[in-house]
């Protein structure tokens, strides 16, 4: 087990290192931040002065090793767009908002997907099952940003039940963006729950439970669901990554002050330090989540080992 964990940790570090090269290179290839940030009237001399002040005039490999060296200490440099602030301070300021939104989105996904998934399995090939499949179809085919705009239009602008945007109204402001982000996961999670439930419903111990006269609701919701939940649980690691990525468009639409929106603004203005800090943080979250699930999986199932 120890060797497996060491191997997976090493693999994760290597992945992260490769990612730093990719992120650094792509950020530079996307253009010069001075072409976005400088006023139209700025002269070439102004551009050169700032390039020197920001260290952008140094050779790329020097910039890269400086970036890596500083990144190891959590220092991604100063934001070029929000002057006077470090890139990491902006990310850390936003991370709780994105994590909270992702958390609520997970709850929304579970709250919708699990009951529908369970009932679709129990009532297989009935109208309920077909409706469940339809929901899954919509969930996977509707773009999150479009769904977000529609939810905003109906429930905020027309009905006035929820705030239009931002997070300043408290818990109620989480509902619409969380539904918009979580809806895609509803589809995937529901299908997973349904297929797992179908497997479990057909097992001997479930038949035994029924023979013993245990009420059907108890058989389904207690005995079957508990066993069927293992597969969806492992899916959570992927969900976390998807929710982080999904937050980019939804945070933009709902003016949510999270990391996703920070990433968009930074990318548009070619704010290298912030782009690098955001992407590395996202990747780190994703890698750690996958690592933990892999380790947990290996712990739960001793058959899983890397040679």
């Amino acid at each position: 087990m120890q060797r497996y964990i060491i191997f997976r940790v090493g693999q994760s570090i290597l992945t992260l290192l490769v990612l730093t090269v990719i992120v650094f290179s792509l950020a530079r290839l996307s253009g010069d931040p001075l072409d976005v940030l400088l006023p139209l009237e700025a002269t070439n001399e102004d551009a050169e002065r700032l390039r020197a002040a920001w260290g952008l005039d140094r050779p790329l490999y020097v910039q890269y090793f400086t970036f890596i060296g500083n990144a190891l200490t959590g220092d991604f440099g100063d934001s070029l767009r929000v002057r006077g602030r470090t890139a990491m301070s902006l990310v850390l300021e936003r991370l709780p908002n994105t994590a909270a939104l992702a958390g609520v989105a997970v709850i929304v996904a579970i709250a919708i997907a699990v009951p529908i998934g369970v009932m679709s399995a129990v009532k297989k090939d009935t109208a309920f099952d077909y409706i469940g499949k339809l929901i899954a179809l919509f969930g996977q085919s509707l773009p999150a940003f479009w769904l977000g705009l529609m939810l905003m239009w109906v429930f905020a602008a027309q009905l006035g039940w929820f705030p239009v945007s931002g997070n300043e109204a408290g818990p109620i402001s989480y509902i619409l963006p969380a539904v918009a982000i979580g809806w895609f996961q509803v589809a995937a999670l529901m299908r997973l729950v349904r297929s797992s439930m179908l497997d479990v419903l057909d097992t001997e111990y479930v038949k035994l439970a029924r023979i013993k006269g245990i009420p059907e609701w108890k058989v389904v919701w207690k005995h079957c669901l508990r066993n069927a939940a293992i597969a969806p649980f492992t899916y959570f690691a992927l969900i976390i990554g998807s929710l982080m990525v999904g937050s980019v468009s939804i945070e933009f639409v709902f003016a949510w002050p999270g990391v996703g929106r920070l990433a968009v603004d930074a990318a548009v203005t070619k704010d290298f330090p912030v782009v690098q800090a955001v992407v590395i943080t996202f990747c780190l979250v994703y890698i750690i989540a996958n690592l933990l699930v892999d380790i947990a999986y290996a712990y739960v199932d001793p058959r899983i080992r890397y040679n």
Partner: protein
């Protein structure tokens, strides 16, 4: 036993994350509470106190007055407030949904004029104010000003009754050199950084020898080269010279000045949360106009349909919404207001006609040697006329701008600005009118029939119609036989690839500029040296006339030079002017009574202190 444990642990961790995150909203950087000022007589210009209720400008409204942008040759008494007048805040919090500025800042030296005018202008003032009705330069912190005969020395006479917010003491002339020095800092990114370095020196030490406080209420600017627009640069229209407290800078340092700046504006900076909002409170004691609202908040929302929804739900009272959503806004009971003056000029720029950097100053009979390529089709005025003749301006105005555009005859010039020649208006249809047949004929006569032209499809903030305008131009130009190649390109890439390295020759691209004295625009587009990236000059007299206009403080000489330069541009078809557009903003009529702003300041809206709540 393992599975429930893991599930429980995950669930607990999830709840913990949510709990922490829900309670962990972004920290606001809060300014120290402003000292409540003792009740003092409100000193306010009588003229502005009694300003007539503004009528909502319509597309047909002509500019209301000629802005005064020429230096006053001698000091003259201005509308210094004399009467003590009391003002009372009527409204609660004025909430405005805005596009997040490219640079979120409290220091005007850290971003473009547009960013500064949006965020800095509420809490601090420039020396020279801009009239909200006619856009003219009027006294602000300076009650009057004068220039010497050759425009190398400007003296500003300052108010003696203004205090900085908080505990930073009175505003004096000593605050001005300190504020100006911020603009030339090594890390400055202001619109005027290059200009101020050129006029006053590259270092703070040098600048402080050229901008000096003569006494507490007089500051003198000694310029390295003559400039007739120093009062303009001391204002907010183009400039970055907002006043900061020398006392705060020296006591707290630059970081604190950026985080919690004390100003002298009608609003007191309260706090900002990056990408969320900027908050201000009312300065009850402002010398010009204490706001009609108790507080103001900019709500920063990137998606415009979200801004519109905020307006529709009354979460905000004012919002920046693009023209394509105006009908939706109006159908839901919102009103679209326009600035008093035109705000934006839109044109196609025929780029890079000559290259003075390789050929030296283009002021001699060897002007032809300055051109990039001797056989460049755009050097031929007949080709440029053909391009102009091929464009259907009326169709562009009606289809893309909803008919709100006003005639634009010469890039950089407006009928209400100095140097405009009425002949251009009279002759425009005759010389520039849509005539594809004539365009084809001109191309044939010039020998450039079917020549290759690169049309760059790019967009600048404020005019999303630039891309469809370019697409329309593709049709118009192709229709007269020009072999048009298009390239969709982001503005930043256009800048990097074409105009910053001076390689705009052979291209045409839509652009937009602001309403400002013509020489400011010409400096950027037409002059051969300095910031003349586009280099669209078509005559060797361009630089001579430009220098005469910029350096003369005699209004007549200046206007004549500008007029002569405009004649050259008009007669030689140096650009493809399209329309003048007003600034527009969407408001909730149920909440907003009057909102008047000139539109000639680089920002979507200004003069927020004058916005009144709707009568209940």
């Amino acid at each position: 036993m393992v599975r429930p444990t893991i599930l429980a642990a995950v669930a607990a961790a999830l709840l913990l994350v949510i709990g922490v995150a829900c309670g962990g909203t972004s920290q606001e950087q809060t300014a120290p509470a402003a000292q409540s000022q003792p009740e003092q007589p409100q000193t306010q210009p009588q003229e502005q106190q009694q300003a007539p209720a503004a009528e909502q400008a319509t597309a047909a409204d002509p500019p209301t007055a000629v802005p005064t942008v020429i230096a006053t040759a001698t000091p003259s008494p201005t509308n210094t407030p004399t009467a003590a007048q009391e003002t009372t805040a009527l409204g609660g919090t004025l909430r405005i949904a805005t596009i997040p500025p490219v640079q979120q800042l409290t220091g005007s030296w850290l971003g473009t004029t547009t960013s500064a005018n949006t965020q800095v202008r509420p809490f601090t003032d420039p020396l020279v104010h801009t009239d909200r009705f006619d856009g003219s330069l009027v006294p602000g912190l300076a009650t009057s000003w004068k220039a010497n005969e050759d425009g190398t020395q400007w003296t500003f006479f300052l108010r003696d009754d203004v205090d900085f917010h908080g505990e930073w003491g009175p505003f004096t002339a000593h605050d001005v050199p300190t504020s100006a020095a911020l603009i030339i800092r090594e890390d400055a990114i202001a619109t005027d950084t290059g200009l101020f370095r050129g006029l006053f020196g590259d270092t703070e030490e040098e600048l402080l020898t050229n901008i000096v406080a003569l006494d507490d209420n007089t500051v003198q600017f000694n310029l390295k080269t003559p400039n007739s627009l120093m009062d303009f640069f001391a204002g907010a229209q183009q400039g970055n010279l907002f006043v900061y407290s020398k006392n705060q800078y020296e006591t707290d340092g630059i970081e604190q000045l950026q985080e919690n700046p004390a100003g002298v504006g009608p609003w007191v900076f309260e706090s900002r949360t990056i990408d969320v909002n900027v908050k201000y409170t009312r300065n009850d004691d402002h010398y010009r106009r204490a706001p009609f609202f108790q507080a103001m908040e900019y709500v920063l929302i990137p998606e415009e349909t979200t801004r519109l929804a905020q307006l529709q739900t009354s979460a905000v009272q004012i919002g920046e919404v693009s023209r394509e959503l105006h009908l939706d806004a109006q159908s839901s009971g919102l009103a679209v207001l326009q600035s008093e003056l035109p705000s934006i000029q839109v044109a196609f720029i025929i780029g890079g006609i000559y290259n003075p950097e390789e050929a030296g100053p283009c002021l001699t009979e060897e002007f032809q040697n300055c051109f990039y390529q001797p056989d460049e089709p755009h050097l031929n005025p007949m080709v440029r006329e053909a391009i102009n003749r091929s464009i259907n301006r009326q169709e562009i105005n009606e289809q893309l701008f909803g008919g709100i555009g006003r005639q634009h005859t010469v890039w950089g010039y407006h009928p209400a600005l100095p140097g405009y020649n009425p002949r251009w208006t009279e002759e425009f249809d005759e010389k520039y009118g849509f005539d594809p047949e004539k365009a084809r004929q001109l191309l044939q006569e010039s020998g450039y029939e079917g020549y290759k032209l690169k049309l760059l499809l790019t967009e600048l903030p404020g005019v999303p119609e630039m891309i469809p305008m370019g697409e329309a131009a593709f049709t118009y130009l192709s229709n007269v036989g020009i072999d048009v190649e298009t390239e969709a390109i982001k503005w930043s890439d256009y800048r990097a690839k074409y105009y910053r390295p001076g390689k705009t020759h052979g291209t045409i691209a839509a652009t937009r500029g602001t309403y400002r004295p013509a020489d400011i625009t010409l400096r950027f587009y037409n002059r051969s040296g300095g910031a003349g990236f586009w280099r669209t000059s078509v005559d060797p007299m361009t630089d001579i006339l430009y220098d005469t206009a910029t350096q003369s403080v005699d209004p007549e000489v200046k206007a004549q030079a500008l007029s002569d330069l405009g004649d050259l541009k008009f007669d030689l078809y140096s650009e493809v002017p399209i329309v003048w557009l007003p600034a527009q903003i969407v408001v909730a009529p149920a909440a907003i009574g009057e909102m008047v702003w000139p539109g000639n300041i680089n920002a979507s809206f200004t003069h927020t202190e004058y916005i009144t709540p709707a009568a209940q």
